[in-house]
Amino acid sequence: MQVIFILISAITLVSGIMVVTNRNLFHAALYMMLSFLGVAGLYVLLENGFLAATQLLVYIGAISILVIFAIMMTRRLMQTTESPFNSQWVWGGAASLLLFGLILVILLQVFTLDPNSTAAILPPAAEEAIRDSVNTLGVSFVDAEQYVLPFELASVLLLIALVGSIIIARPDVEDDQA
C-alpha cells in the first residue's frame, strides 16, 4: 500500500516538475496529463473512485486537450530556443521553496509522518459510508438543506464560461460583413 502510494506520488511530483521546467510546451502538456493521472491514482487510494473517474474525464479528457489545442494554435512559440523562464525565476523558486518549508514545519507540528502511528488508522465505520459515498454526494447536490445553491450556481457559471469564451475567442465578424 505504502509502496503504491510512494510510486504514484513520485510520478505525480516528477511530472509536475517536468510541466514547469520543460522547454517544449507540448511535452509539458503531456507531462501535465501524466500528473493528472497520478492525482487520479491518489483518489483511488483514498477510496473515492467517482472523483478519480471525474478527474480522468474532466482534467485529462477535457482540460488537457483544450491546453494542447491552445498550444497548437500558438505553434510558432512552441519551438522557442530562448529560456522558458522570466528574469524572476530565482525569486519565484525561492518563494515556492519557502512556502513548502513553512507548510512542512506546520505539518510536522500537527501531524506525524510515522506510518505506524495511530494517525495512520482510518476512522471506524468508514466502510459503509465509503460504499454509499456517491449516493450521499448525489443527494447532497439536490438537497435544499445542503449544496443545491452552489450546485445551481456552478451550472450557471459553466454556461457563462461557455458563452464568454466563444465571444472572446471568435474572430471579428465586421471584416466578413464589409
Binding site: F5, S9, T12, L13, G16, V19, V20, L25, M32, S35, V39, L46, N48, L51, Q55, V58, Y59, I63, V67, F69, I71, M73, T74, L77, S83, P84, N86, Q88, W91, G92, G93, A95, S96, L97, L99, F100, I103, L104, L107, F111, T112, P115, S117, A119, A120, P123, A126, A129, I130, D132, S133, T136, L137, Y147, P150, A154, A161, L162, S165, A169
Partner: protein, 102 residues
C-alpha cells in the same frame, strides 16, 4: 496504512511546484498549466481530509467537485483570452503583454 500527513505533504509539494510555474514561466499557456497543477493539489487535500475525517459527510468531495467545475470554466475562458491576445499581438509571452501600462 498511509498516514494523512503523507497526502498533505504530496499536496503541498504539488502546490509549490504549481506556484513556481506561475511565478517563473514566461509563456501564458504554461502559467495556466501550472495553475491547474495547484488546483489539483488543493483537491488532494480536500479528498484526504474527507477520507480521514468523517466520510459519511460529503463536504470534502462536494467542494472538490466545485473546484473542478471552476477549474474547467477557468481553463476555457483563460485559453480563449490567450488565443484572442495571440491574434492581436502575435505573442503569448506574459512580459510582452504590457498594454495596460500606458
Amino acid at each position: 496504512m498511509i498516514p494523512l500527513s503523507w497526502y498533505l505533504l504530496v499536496a503541498a509539494a504539488l502546490f509549490c511546484i504549481g506556484l513556481y510555474g506561475i511565478l517563473a514561466r514566461r509563456n501564458a499557456v504554461a502559467m495556466l498549466m501550472a495553475v491547474e497543477l495547484a488546483l489539483n493539489a488543493v483537491n488532494i487535500n480536500l479528498v484526504a481530509f474527507w477520507r480521514y475525517g468523517n466520510p459519511s459527510q460529503p463536504v470534502g468531495v462536494a467542494w472538490a467537485i466545485f473546484v473542478l467545475t471552476v477549474a474547467a470554466a477557468e481553463a476555457a475562458v483563460g485559453l480563449a483570452l490567450i488565443i484572442s491576445i495571440y491574434r492581436q499581438r502575435d505573442s503569448v509571452i506574459a512580459e510582452e503583454l504590457d498594454i495596460l501600462k500606458y
